[in-house]
């Protein structure tokens, strides 16, 4: 059992490395070949490391591929994502504290989405066809159609300006300043999570094993919480990666609106001064972080869903059987 889990995790991680490389290659190519790019003109080298001397020793031309390889090498070996033009320091030191803000917002947003969305969807599923179900479905339709900035503006006016309960702009030391941004980010995701949880719960409740449990005389509470919930969560967990990607949009809007010094506002700024290095570097950092989150949610998925685990462990099992036969 433990071996299977380990094998699943290793295979998942090995699949994840080429995925990141492919994305990096696509982004690098896009930025590299744009007209007027400084990327093609500037040499990417730190000077004096092993790879550099290798390139000079074989006198490789400074073309697209060698630059791409050096870019990747610099990321892996020195955590160097290139440098921004105005400051002489590396990009990483410029944005270290900004990443923290963005990730904090994103994670609290995802957490709030799940904490509110899943119970809402399950409640609607249990009350299927009744008034509560309809209320939830109306709320989700409205929430999914409202753009996040509208919600932010209305909340800021009502709560911050009229009632002056919370600060409008971001104050790093004040935990209350995180409430409104989190709510704004989460509202967009709650609708889709609630819908997803509702439909998967309904699907699970139709399964014969639930009928069997009920006819056995188990109390409804334990049928739902102990047996149905676990299976109903499988699709929700599998969609977690997509949810994080979706909420990143809301995070950028929130950073812009509540003046949070995060990666989103930084990238928008570098877009307006056409600093392609910064855009590429930030995109690469964010994508690596998001892919890591995806990996975690995939591994979590494997823990919840034994069939996935089995599929990955299939071949070695067969080999063992053959050995036993031989």
């Amino acid at each position: 059992m433990r071996l299977k889990v380990a094998r699943y995790i290793i295979k998942r991680t090995l699949l994840f490395i080429p995925a990141i490389l492919v994305i990096l290659f696509i982004l690098y190519t896009l930025i590299y070949f744009l007209p007027g790019s400084r990327m093609a003109m500037m040499p990417i080298s730190r000077g004096g490391d092993a790879l550099d001397s290798l390139f000079t020793s074989i006198s490789a031309p400074d073309n697209f591929f060698t630059k791409f390889v050096r870019y990747i090498y610099n990321i892996i070996a020195h955590r160097d994502f290139g440098r921004s033009t105005p400051s002489s320091a590396g990009l990483m030191s410029d944005i270290a504290y900004r990443i923290k803000n963005t990730l904090l917002l994103l994670l609290t947003g995802v957490g709030a989405t799940i904490i509110v969305g899943v119970p809402l969807g399950i409640y609607a599923a249990l009350r299927k066809g009744r008034a509560a179900d309809r209320v939830v479905s109306v709320i989700t339709v409205f929430l999914s159609a409202l753009p996040p900035y509208t919600v932010a503006i209305v909340l800021a006016i009502v709560i911050c300006v009229r009632l002056s309960l919370l600060p409008v702009t971001h104050v790093a030391s004040d935990p209350k300043a995180y409430i409104l941004p989190t709510v704004t980010i989460a509202l967009g995701g709650i609708a889709s999570v609630a819908r997803m949880a509702r439909s998967s719960m309904l699907e699970v409740l139709e399964q014969p094993y639930i009928t069997a449990l009920r006819s056995k005389g188990l109390p409804e509470r334990s049928v739902i919480l102990k047996h149905a919930l676990k299976n109903a969560m499988i699709p929700v967990i599998s969609a977690l990666g997509g949810l994080i990607a979706q909420l990143l949009c809301g995070t950028f809007v929130v950073e812009n609106f509540f003046m949070v010094p995060g990666l989103g506002s930084f990238m928008l700024n570098s877009l307006s001064v056409r600093d392609h290095f910064e855009i590429l570097g930030c995109a690469v950092i964010l994508i690596i972080i998001l892919m890591c989150m995806n990996l975690v949610s995939d591994i979590l998925y494997g823990f919840v869903n034994p069939k996935i685990r089995l599929r990955y462990a299939e071949k070695p099992a067969r080999r063992k059987r053959k050995e036993a036969a031989g």
Binding site: I31, V141, S144, P147, S199, Q246, V253, L290
Partner: protein, 311 residues
């Protein structure tokens, strides 16, 4: 000849049934009508208003609604109704263009993966997973940086981000149809891949595809306005619902209608599209059998079920 008549009869029957069910659903019909009305009035904007969306009038700024300007004027004295209609024209055009592109490319990929299966399937699925995991906003930023800013290049990003959901959906549907006996029979009769795809698979995929299209349309419209709000999208003075709202937010306390009107337009469009989509789903899929009728998740679920059955 005879066979052709029979087939078109049957196909017409299915669609006629769906149309009857759809018309019986009052909410769905109303929301479809509202959506079509919004699309039509945005498309006919040059004929509906006498103002230009760039014509400024500094003597009449932030005016309240009046007979002259039905919805008032903005901070530069431009007619809000005109700007909202032209903005909708831009937003809806981008949403339609990117969603239709994604629909076509995604369907081709999905059909190829579902029909040929095997190695192609093995190659396509992880690539689609990778594309689906890139956030659309990062893709849009990179496209804008790479291809030029403010000229609507983010459209490609929206289209690319929407491809995987169509590809997965068509893939799942096509793969489940490919396993059935009548496809075997058709093959035994010597029908080629194009015959099978055009006669059998497309008919089975179309209902789910239509439903998914409405959902993707609403999503890409919202993404477009969010990008416009973040000033990644269309540059002013060309109106777009997102950038109208971005510039109106400074006047929120003086003249809230500047912002409320485009917000209402976005929300109304989004809600009418999703309600019409729900109605279409109920009409096309009365027994709830379509794998993707309930969104991406169900697509995942059925993919997983099929594999479970094969094991």
């Amino acid at each position: 000849m005879n066979g052709k008549v029979l087939r078109s009869d049957r196909a017409g029957g299915i669609w006629k049934d769906a149309l009857r069910r759809f018309c019986a659903n009052r909410i769905a019909v109303i929301s479809l009508a509202v959506f079509l009305l919004i699309c039509l009035s945005c498309a006919l904007a040059p004929w509906l208003t006498k103002y230009s969306y760039t014509a400024i009038n500094v003597h009449n700024t932030l005016a309240k609604p009046s007979a002259e300007h039905w919805l008032g004027t903005d901070n530069l004295g431009r007619d809000i109704l005109t700007r909202t209609l032209y903005g909708g024209r831009m937003t809806l055009r981008i949403a339609f263009a990117s969603t239709v592109t994604a629909l076509i490319i995604g369907s081709v990929i999905g059909l190829a993966a579902g029909y040929f299966g095997g190695r192609f399937d093995f190659l396509i699925s992880p690539v689609m997973d990778i594309v689906a995991s890139i956030p659309v906003i990062l893709l849009a930023l990179v496209f804008e940086a790479a291809l030029g800013w403010g000229r609507g290049n983010f459209m490609y990003a929206i289209a690319i981000a929407a491809i995987p959901q169509f590809a997965r959906l068509v893939h799942v549907c096509a793969a489940s149809v490919m396993g059935s006996e009548y496809i075997q029979a058709a093959r035994a009769l010597g029908v080629g891949p194009f015959g099978i795809i055009s006669r059998h698979i497309i008919h089975n995929v179309a209902p789910a595809l239509i439903v998914r299209f409405t959902g993707a349309l609403a999503e890409s419209m919202l993404t477009c306005t969010v990008l416009g709000y973040l000033s990644i999208g269309i540059n002013p003075p060309t109106p777009e619902w997102g950038n109208i709202i971005y510039h109106a937010r400074n006047y929120i306390r003086l003249a809230p209608h500047l912002m409320i009107i485009p917000c209402a337009a976005i929300s109304l469009t989004g809600i009418s599209v999703s309600l019409a989509g729900d109605g279409l789903r109920d009409a096309l899929d009365p027994r709830g059998e379509l794998p993707a009728a309930r969104g991406l998740t169900a697509g995942f679920l059925s993919l997983f079920k099929r594999r479970g059955a094969a094991n």
